[in-house]
């Protein structure tokens, strides 16, 4: 891009406080407002229960709690331990399905 003399003024400290929303944030807000995010969350929950992922995670949590002792575990611990395993074990079919849905949403929302 050529540097134009008419380029916008460099943002100064005042404007820094109002950061422009990133694309991610815009998408997120649009999805929440239209109710699509809720639908996708429900769909995701349904799929994860169907394929047994939720039960696997539950079993992992139980095993971890048993190992550590019920009074020595916090929710943060569990989240920290479970998250990598959880992310890794999501079936590809579910990922694909959700990505397709999101893509369709983006197309329809004309972003």
């Amino acid at each position: 891009m050529r540097n134009s003399v008419n380029r916008p003024p460099t943002p100064d400290a005042v404007e820094d406080q109002e950061k422009e929303p990133t694309l991610q944030e815009i998408i997120n807000i649009k999805m929440i407002e239209s109710g699509e995010k809720e639908k996708l969350m429900e769909l995701l929950r349904e799929r994860l229960v169907e394929c047994g992922w939720k039960d696997e995670m539950k079993a992992l949590c139980r095993a971890y709690i048993k190992k550590k002792g019920t009074n020595n575990v916090t929710v943060d611990d569990l989240v920290h331990v479970i998250t990598p395993k959880g992310r890794a074990s999501i079936p590809d079919s579910i990922k694909t399905e959700l990505l397709l849905r999101i893509r369709a949403f983006l197309a329809s929302a004309a972003l």
Binding site: K19, E25, N28, I32, N71, T74, V75, D76
Partner: protein, 572 residues
């Protein structure tokens, strides 16, 4: 697995429900905010219709975002109970909610927050979820009012179910059905009143032990339903695995043969051959023990299934195969040190209950009293309850099975707490009941000391309906500690999900004769009539004949499965 039954309970128990003690910050919040601290939050509780999830929103279209970093896509956002400021919590990167919590003012503390998407309390100082009865009550209230108020039918309909639509077959479907099915004609009236599924089994050479158990299994409701509804398809199984030994396939063949309506006695030769290959040590034409055959057969069915799965599944849950799904239960064994009271508990899966017959009747005639009346422990000297006039009963055997037994001085158990071998008290109880309980009466005594075996012919009275509740771990333990509730090891023992404890008798395998020369016969109960299955001969008999028979193995099925299955032939 051993656990200490601790008298310093960390959990609070009321109404039989475990409730964790509040953390000091939550207790403080309660103290500061009076009797109904969460009243204000009720207005903000929105129940989202699809799943009925509770969320915290000031208005239904609010998009919560962190007050510090403006992030609204964070998975965990918390709203402070004191000032409603929303912050994010992303351990270990950043936790704006924890920073918020450090803001203290004289009026209120900002340590308790609520997850905006899940309506769950969080203590920022302890960095852990906390639980409060009043809050949970408010959430439940919001749930129930939302269901009542909502006029949308979606709320009432359960998710993941398709709408009911009546169906009738079109021409193509109709021809498909006609060509591939044969109608169940009223065989029951035309063939001497024998109901469907009764067919004699030829004796192939001292195989009455096998025939008797097979007859009982053919009419075990969950097992019968499994095979008759094609859950194990022998054609598919063999084509997948080649010509391999599969007892389940042979069983499937037999089920088809038994229920096809043909009344000529069937010869289970192929099955016998397969079983010999599986249990080669028992492969002979000698007489065998029916119970041993039963165990061996369940094992054979299990083995085949386990080879297929990659994940080993626990037998206690019955997830591994149909044999365990039907017959497997969990036994709990408690060993209590007599010196210090420390109790060690183990759980073992079991497929049947092997019960000893009580010893000499004459010497111990106590007044009968049922298990539930006992409120104190240490009945080690044995009150042989429910003995009426010296007749042994099945309940009596079960009482004996679950009563505390003093392990003698030659069997001292190593106590974890005392760190020495101590005399102990052992007690068995049933942690989880199977769908079908098989009671095996130990009538064959093999004494290695006296180098002889003998058969115990003593008559055993058995009921047609049996309630196993007094033998469950919950009952046994309650009576040990005087009706107090305390947490069980392992997991959430949700009594709502537990099957009921009432059982109905449907098959009795009896033995007549001597130890080495005897005969097995099975009595089956179908539609409240009794049928004697003596190898190839099936006859209807009187209930009293069955009651007077010498029971060796008794099969009881859970009452709810019994009524559904066998009341009316041809409709289940």
């Amino acid at each position: 697995m051993s656990s200490k039954i601790n008298h310093h309970h960390q959990n609070d128990k009321t109404n039989g429900q475990i409730f964790p003690q509040p953390c000091p910050h939550l207790a403080d919040f309660h103290a500061r905010n009076g009797t109904k601290p969460f009243r204000a939050i009720q207005d903000c509780l929105h129940i989202k219709p699809p799943g009925g999830r509770a969320a915290i929103r000031r208005d239904s279209s609010e998009v919560p975002r962190c007050g510090v970093c403006g992030d609204s896509s964070c998975p965990r956002l918390y709203a402070c109970m004191a000032c409603a400021a929303v912050s994010c919590h992303v351990p270990p990167h950043s936790s704006h909610v924890a920073i918020h919590a450090t803001k203290t003012s004289s009026a209120c503390s900002h340590e308790i927050a609520v997850d905006v998407d899940r309506a769950e309390l969080f203590c920022c100082a302890c960095r852990d979820q906390v639980y409060d009865r009043d809050f949970d009550a408010a959430v439940v209230l919001a749930h129930t009012t939302s269901i009542i108020q909502s006029s949308k039918p979606e709320n009432l309909r359960k998710r993941r179910r398709i709408d009911y639509r009546p169906w009738s077959p079109d021409l193509r479907e109709r021809s498909l059905m006609v060509n591939n099915a044969s109608p169940i004609d009223s065989m029951s009236s035309s063939n001497g009143d024998l109901p469907r599924g009764l067919r004699g089994l030829n004796n192939l050479g001292n195989t009455c032990f096998m025939n008797s158990v097979l007859q009982a299994l053919f009419h075990t409701p969950p097992l019968r339903n499994y095979f008759l509804s094609d859950r194990h398809n022998r054609y598919y199984c063999q084509s997948k695995n080649g010509v391999r030994l599969c007892l389940a396939c042979d069983l499937d063949t037999m089920f088809s043969a038994i229920f096809c309506g043909d009344r000529m006695p069937y010869s289970p030769a192929k099955f016998l051959y397969s079983w010999w290959r599986h249990a080669s040590n028992l492969a002979s034409y000698e007489q065998q023990d029916a119970h041993e055959f039963f165990i061996s057969m369940l094992d054979g069915i299990h083995e085949k299934v386990e080879k297929d799965q990659h994940k080993p599944r626990s037998q206690g849950n019955g997830d591994c195969c149909i044999a365990h799904r039907v017959f497997s239960g969990i036994l709990r064994s408690d060993v209590m040190c007599m010196a210090c009271g420390f109790t060690s508990t183990t759980f073992d899966p079991c497929v049947d209950f092997s019960l000893d017959l009580e010893p000499n009747q004459g010497s111990s005639m106590k007044t009968s009293s049922t298990k539930s009346n006992h409120s104190c422990n240490c009945e080690a000297d044995g009150m042989n309850s429910s003995q009426n006039c010296g007749i042994s009963t099945l309940m009596g055997c079960l009482d004996r099975f679950t009563r505390p037994e003093r392990l003698g001085s030659d069997q001292k158990f190593f106590c974890q707490q005392c760190q020495v071998r101590q005399e102990s008290l052992k007690q068995m109880s049933i942690r989880k009941l199977p769908l079908v309980s098989c009671f095996h009466i130990k009538r064959f005594e093999h004494s290695s000391v006296r180098k002889m075996s003998r058969k115990v012919d003593r008559y055993l009275q058995f009921p047609l309906s049996l309630d196993m509740a007094p033998y469950l771990s919950s009952s046994i333990l309650r009576s040990r500690f005087g009706n107090r509730f305390f947490p069980f090891d392992g997991d959430e023992s949700n009594t709502l999900n537990e099957p009921s404890s009432e059982f109905e008798l449907f098959a009795v395998v009896t033995h007549t004769g001597k130890l080495d020369a005897g005969h097995y016969v099975t009595y089956l109960r179908l539609s409240n009539k009794w049928y004697k299955c003596d190898d190839a001969w099936i006859t209807e008999v009187n209930e009293n004949t069955v009651r007077a028979a010498q029971g060796y193995m008794m099969f009881y099925v859970q009452k709810m499965l019994y009524y559904k299955a066998s009341e009316k032939q041809g409709t289940s």
